[in-house]
Amino acid sequence: MSRITPRVMGGLAILLALLLVAPALLGGYGLSVLILVLYFAYVGQAWNIMMGFAGQLSLGHALYAGLGGYMAAGLYFHYGIGPWAGMFVGVAAAVAAAAVVGYLGFRFSLAGVYFALLTIAFAEFTRIGFDNWPWTGESGGMFLRVERGVTDVANLRGGPVLFYYVILFLAVAAFVLCRLLLESRLGRYWLAIREDAEAAQAVGVPVLKCKMLAVTISAALTALAGVWNAFYYNNLFPETAFAMGRSIEITLAPIIGGLGTLFGPFVGAVVLTGLGEIFTAVGDKLDIPGIKQVFYGLALLVIVMYRPAGIWPWLAARLGIK
């Protein structure tokens, strides 16, 4: 397993220092890109717990992000309750949903794509429900009031710098948490389940319990991303919050970066966001509708074909980190 050597530690310290001072060095555009990178690194890390560690494919993680976002935003919108309190409700809702999805899937031994279908179905049901729930503003959406120039940390109201530091904190915390989990009994049990659940059970791994922990921890972290997202963008629509596309988006950074690795989600997020920005610029120049998506799709295809285990394992080998 990846041992964190002094050299890696040094590299991480420099990276963290750079990230801490980044708002002072970068302009508005640069910061907005970095915010995206950290967001995808963070949700990717959360999703990676399920797929990368425990081997359970979820293609419905938008459910947890959407629930987290809607609960916190709704409490603020309707009752003026700030997200620092609202996030607990958001996390609780996501964990409850994850417990239902997990229990149905794992108790009845739905594996692989069948489990994935179940996760998609739940995200879809929820989308339809929210489309018709007046509290959420239904399909017309929910909008949080934006006051320019006001910074109100207690209610998570402010400019990009505030959101930058919040997502940076989340990304770093998730990294540390995943590292601790992976180096614990639970983490090793997840790997065992991923490799062979029946063999794991034979050496005493309580498989159902461990899978339930994976899905609920992953959902809780994802819900926080949803809260952050709702307050950063100030609007929520069931159509996008619970969309299949949103779920897929969450999976990309760890897949491209390296499933089951600690650095994979971050590396994947850097590459994906970078490519996204480049292809957007190219698309604007060429002025051909949809060309960005074509380039982006091709790039993903090439990466997955040539680095099926992801970029990080290959990069780590080149850097001599093992």
Partner: protein, 243 residues
Amino acid sequence: MTGARLELAGLSKDFRGLRAVHDVGFTVPAGAIHALIGPNGAGKTTIFNMIAGVHVPTAGTVSLDGRKISGLRPDKVCDAGVGRTFQIVRPFRGLSVLENVTIGALHRRPHLPDARHAAEAILQRLGLADRRHQPAESLTLPDRKRLEVARALATEPKLLLLDEVMAGLRPTEVDVMVAFLRELNAQTGLTILLIEHVMRAVMALAAHVVVVSYGEKIAEGTPAEITRHQAVLDVYLGEEEVA
């Protein structure tokens, strides 16, 4: 680590009409090494799977030191003190040999460094120490069989179920494994039940042999008695010779 007494009574298993095991009963005293033999498809692995909690028996019970364990989930059976290997090996393929055994050791040692330490010692004893950082999927079949034994032992069982761990081993390797199991049994008093087609190993290890054919127990006794038993000779006629 001490051994536990295993008792099977009236054990049966039907698979949708197919009677895989029918009314099998026998006892393995604490600290003994017994063998379970029989032709292909006789129901040996099915008996193991009922002991290990993979299959719930259609009828009958399995008990360990007088406590009923049949019907428990496999991880609970492991908690109760049963370690098992898989006939068709099931290593954690993508993980290293050391990680494979460490995961077994985590069962009784919740802290990763302790578990890893215990795993190192077991790998040493099974001659896998120099391969410990290799991914399990890169091992040869005989080494995978050893890894199965190492991982099961790491859970510190009181009863070890070995399903054809000698298959595919060269005669000298069989002797090494036999010597290892004998020493382990002598040192720890661990009870061992082994399914084995390699008669050389059965004769060398087992004090007592149970023979099954078409899901039923047809004979049991010392290895010497078994080789003289007419029903056993009939069953094995045209198969490999006994002894």
